[in-house]
Amino acid sequence: MSKRTDLNKILVIGSGPYVVGQSTEFDYLGTETVVTLAQAGYHVILVNSNPATNMTDRYPNVSVYLEPITLKFLTEIIRKELPDAILANVGGQTTINLVLQLRQSGLLDQLNIQTIGTDLTHQNPATDVDQFQDLMAQLQLPLLNSLLINDQGQIPQAIERLGWPIMVRPVNSIGGTGGGLAENRAQLEKVFNQATAISPFHQVALSQSVLGAKEIEFEVLRDHADQVAAIFNCEQLNQVGIHSGDSIALAPIQTLTDRQVQSLREMAINITRQLNVIGSCNIQFAVDTKTNQVWILKATARLGRTSAFAAKALGYPLAKVAALLAVGLRLDEIDHPYEQGSTALVEPAFDYLVCKFPGWSFDRVSGADRTLGAEMKATGEVMVFDRNVEAAILKGVRSYNLRIDHLWKAEIAALDDDQLTAYLIHPTDEEIFCLAEALRRGYSVTDLSHISKIDAFFIQKIKNIVQLEQELVDHKAEIDVLKRAKYYGFSDLEISRLWEITTDQLRIFRQEAKIEPGFQEINSIASNPLVHSQQFFITYATENEMTASESKEKVLVIGSGPTKVGQGSEVDYETVHGLEELRRLGYETILLNNNPDAYSTSVNLADHLYYAPINAEAVLNIAAIEQPTYVITQLGGKSASKLTAALERAGLKILGASGAALNQVHEPEKMQRLLADLHLLGPRIRQITEPLADATSQEWARQLPYPILIHPNPEHRFSPTEILKSAADLQHYLTRFNRDLANYPFTIREFLSGDKYEVDGIYDGEQVLITGIMEHLEHSSLHSGDAMTISPARNLSDSMLSQIKQVFLAVGQQLGMRGFMNIRFLVKDDLLYVLAIDLKGSRNLAFINKMTRESIIALGVKVLMGSRLTALGYQNNPVLTTANVHVRIPVYSFTKINQRQKLAKAQMKTTGEAIGSDLTFEKALYKALEAARQPLPAYGRILFSVASHDLSRGLEMAQRFKRLGYQIVATAHTATKFQRSGLATDFVHDIGQRQPDIATEISQGKIQMVINTTEWRGPVSMSGALLRELSVMHNVPLITTLDEAEAILTVLESRAFAIEPL
């Protein structure tokens, strides 16, 4: 048997834009799947609207449709391409819902399109919760006792069957939004009502609560010959009840006996077989801590977050293997990735441990609710390897948030005991910091295990860390203690802080004491530890196993690390393309990265791959052993770029921009001077360097050009930029941040309003190549990632364009840099202002690379390596052009509703983006909205709820919508204003007031689009937040700025016929 020859074209459906709970893991999984199928000789038809992923790149044998993943577009593509088969295992839950609809529509049967891999196109136990429950009951497997209800009348019956406490989950909500725990009848009814409102099917799953149990996951592979391999298992540090995506996970399982592990493995295999999986299946278990009781929580018969973790933890190309299984290969017909003569039919033997550390972007959203529970809030994750749990935890802590260097946070250390205990009972993303703090204050391991429901095993590990801190303080400059501290993962920075010396001093001391890191090769075959995978982790717990080659010139590329809000896979896209181009140019490539979801960390993408926190210590350790000729920090986003100066100081040869150049464009005052020197305009800037008694009494503060933009010291904390309108606002703002002096200096910028452009270029020392110009469709957006953009720019004059080029040339020359540049401009009254300059690959490159049909990144890398643009065929500072119009819009996710305090503090965040490309702006916008899952309604009711400063413009738009045949609904003051102006407006109550309120109207499908803008400042109102939540839950397009509404009106007007009576 070998791969199927009866298939030629295979349709692969991607996951679309990223949202919380379904993120960049599909970048790795999807890309590897597509590349594998194409290399196996199939013609791949790929549909994915996400421009930021490697998956939608141009590979040989792949036709990419960067189109919305909706029934309509899929049907059109399928009819056009007539694929032989469809593979849906790399698209997440949304895609599976969609292929079920495709099957129901009859299209797959009509065109005789087969399903390959696990059959996810039919209602079966792999796709349907009810059928899965029945199957488990039939097999007498211990599924967690649960039932689905949709009527309050069924509650008594449920209580009788489940007992207290009861977990409540709305059915089919994204990432489990709207669930909670009920401990009595009153709570249950309350949570039930909230959950039914949020479920698109008004259905709620109630289950027995297993809070406090350990959570274990298995990943099992199965081929069509029924061969299985339990390829991976891991244990969550956090108890069941915290979403597995929000939990620190360790592989392999840490605290169970072999007997327990084997019985879980058997169950996992049994379920995989019963679900008829061809490919990969993930099974989650809850394991009681006091008895042998085990519960099955969930089985997922497709690739997902844990698949990516497993693949990278093992150095095993799991997505590739799953793709080959889908086209008929057997596990033992696929070569092992690095053990010669061995096959993919293996189970690992770890001789290291791997820790997955979730990361949250709460810091980026003011007033975010950080409590963790049944709903996933993490926006990315990092992976660390070591040989003990202590080191894994410490590395994990400093890998996600690079401002943190140890298991210590000032905010946590400042809590009083009561607050600390409260945080431990209701865990937040800072739980592990709280545990460490409690241990420092002398809480016992047993008590903490009791309060936090975290196994004493892990708490003892944290205690070891805390004890070692004290030992370091007590034994300064002692080699033995230093050795142990490094063995258990302490950073040089933390040790030098405890020893009250500089890191350079410590580094010298450490090197003199011959305490040098080892590099262990990751191979997951403990019985054959000499096998080479070319993937390494840094540890002080074993010797060095890396032998550097001396034959070639080597380039070390610093990767971007974890996915964060504002940094998705688009940065990894640069890393991937950079590595590929460097390899083509004949260099040996070395990569430092730690993101399991990234495609760049796939097997063999770099010649040597290192997993470590992306900081100077790690880079210097790697550089010491690899001796790279050059280091590139331009292709790994902000975290890589930031290391430039430190690496330069240590004598490494950095290509691109120097640390000094970066400093000039990032330090507000230096930047202002740079612009002045070059006779360029920019917003006026002022810094507040120390606390003020009262801003309102300061003359200069009253004289600021309000509205102004302000943010605290970005080195200390990331906090979103806010708009202030008066000195009183400023005073209020400063008071909010006063607690922490490290927030100073605050930077104040003049808020300019005008046409905004983001321009990317490549500068070679003499010339510039403008690679892309994007125009913002919104005037008031604060962060470039939040803005709807169009490319090419619509209103840019030739003279303005040549001025823009001059800026690039002047800045490039002044800073003495080469390579990638990104400059944000604003045009106001025919004057060009420079808003910001960045000297690295921008987040737009992935998008640009796809629309220009030329590999910009490859070109930039050539320039970095010394080529001249002229030699590459680009003369006279050209601008790359594109045939189509492209609209990119942000995609929002929501932090989830708090389970305990009912509907408090929801906040919206951009987590991904969608793109629409077509011949006209309107069509492109239409597609972009579809891709972002915000389909435009053809008729129906539009809800307006706009901020006071938007009322007049809102009214004008509402009138235009009305003319197009839509009905207008509005809340409170919006409705009053509209009605007073003579516009027929239905009034609807705010949420939680009298019926019918907005919630009811939306969940009953009576509203087809929501236009909601908020006040400039201050917390989002509760109802405003819920309104957004509801819109997303019910797939009602949500428009949050009037500029966007304007664009939509254009689309709608362009496709409407004028229907007027004579």
């Binding site: 007997r259 293996v346 403990a526 019985s527």
Partner: protein
């Protein structure tokens, strides 16, 4: 307390002592499972060996009453990375440290077992000693030490003993029997008599069992001349099931030589393929010998092979109801995918009984 593991080639691995503070010497065995240390250190297949664990953390689940494979462990020492001293498991009755102290077995922790495993992978099996110092004198001592060749003798029961039940009458030849093997036979209601390794055929004929199981065990199969002679005499009369060392012994009974491994295998992730069905499963393996292939003229034929390396893992006799496998179907520790071999053994005995009845 600082102590050392010294290999016979003079390589030194420092660590900290736990368990009993005594000096011992034995052949080094590397166990590569991430779980199952209790089963492993009480497994008599490791008699006389110092067992090192490649997974860097051990001890988290303590020692419990259910996972002993023998009540009195016979290993010569345990070498690990991290030792988790405070077990956190509801079944734990004591710590690994206390258990080893009570059993007079030395342990060494905070050892770089990755370096150790790589050393053994490069240079092959070797003996090792626990020592308090690592000077030239210590090296000479370990070089001079000859490891006894009679591990089975040490560990096999001295007296026959019964494990009564109401089903098939089974004789188990104890070469280093694990509790779980008896448990699996017991689950199938076998009325078992465990006999010493040097039993003669007269004893077996007196019992006249429905079948014989030759267990796994430590040491070299060639040394078991008495066992081989006895089995040669009885192999035509009774169905026989050989496991591990029993696999090697039964090969020798049928004049098929086995080869010593450069690095003995102690793993719980061996992929096994059954030739006739092409079914694959994962199994535990404790094996110092292997069978690359069967000679063409042999009475044995191959039933199981390794998926990932060239190696015979199971054979059957062409004419007699005998079969053997070179892995551990009883697992403990490890996956229990191949427990069905005990059923196969029962079936074999059933078939033999009906054959005999037909003949009569």
């Amino acid at each position: 307390m600082k102590r050392y593991l010294i290999l016979e080639d003079g390589t030194v691995f420092p660590g900290n002592a736990f368990g009993a503070r005594i000096n011992t010497t034995g052949e080094l065995a590397l166990y590569t499972g991430a779980t199952g240390y209790q089963e492993t250190i009480t497994n008599d297949n490791y008699t006389g060996q110092i067992v090192a664990f490649t997974y860097p953390q051990q001890g988290a689940t303590g020692i419990n009453r259910d996972d002993y494979e023998a009540i009195q462990p016979t290993i010569k020492g345990m070498v690990i990375g991290e030792n988790y001293q405070l077990p956190s498991h509801w079944q734990a009755q004591m710590t690994l440290d206390l258990f080893l102290q009570a059993q007079r077995i030395p342990g060494l922790m905070n050892v770089d077992t990755r370096r150790l495993a790589r050393h053994i992978a490069k240079y092959g099996n070797m003996k090792a000693s626990f020592m308090d110092t690592h000077d030239a004198h210590a090296h000479d001592q370990i070089k001079a030490l000859v490891i006894a060749n009679n591990q089975v003798n040490q560990v096999s029961t001295k007296q026959p003993f019964p494990s009564p039940n109401i089903g098939k009458n089974v004789v188990v030849i104890d070469l280093g029997l694990k509790n779980t093997v008896l448990r699996e036979l017991s689950k199938r209601q076998c009325n078992v008599t465990v006999l010493p390794f040097d039993t003669d055929s007269g004893m077996i004929n007196t019992i006249a069992p429905d079948g014989i199981l030759v267990s796994n065990g430590p040491g070299k199969p060639e040394a078991l001349t008495k066992t081989i002679a006895t089995l040669k005499t009885v192999q035509e009369r009774y169905p026989i099931f050989g496991i591990g060392l029993g696999f090697a012994v039964m090969a020798l009974v049928n004049d098929v030589p086995v080869l010593p491994r450069k690095v003995s295998q102690h793993r719980i992730n061996l992929a096994v393929r059954e030739k006739i069905t092409q079914n694959t499963n994962f199994a535990a393996q404790n094996s110092s010998f292997y069978l690359p292939e069967l000679p063409a003229n042999s009475d044995l034929f191959v039933t199981h092979v390794a998926v990932n390396h060239q190696e015979v893992l199971g054979y059957r006799h062409r004419y007699l109801p005998n079969f053997a496998i070179n892995f551990d179907p009883e697992a403990a520790a490890g996956p229990r995918d191949t427990l069905h071999f005990f059923d196969d053994f029962i079936d074999l005995m059933d078939a033999n009984i009906s054959r005999k009845q037909r003949l009569e």
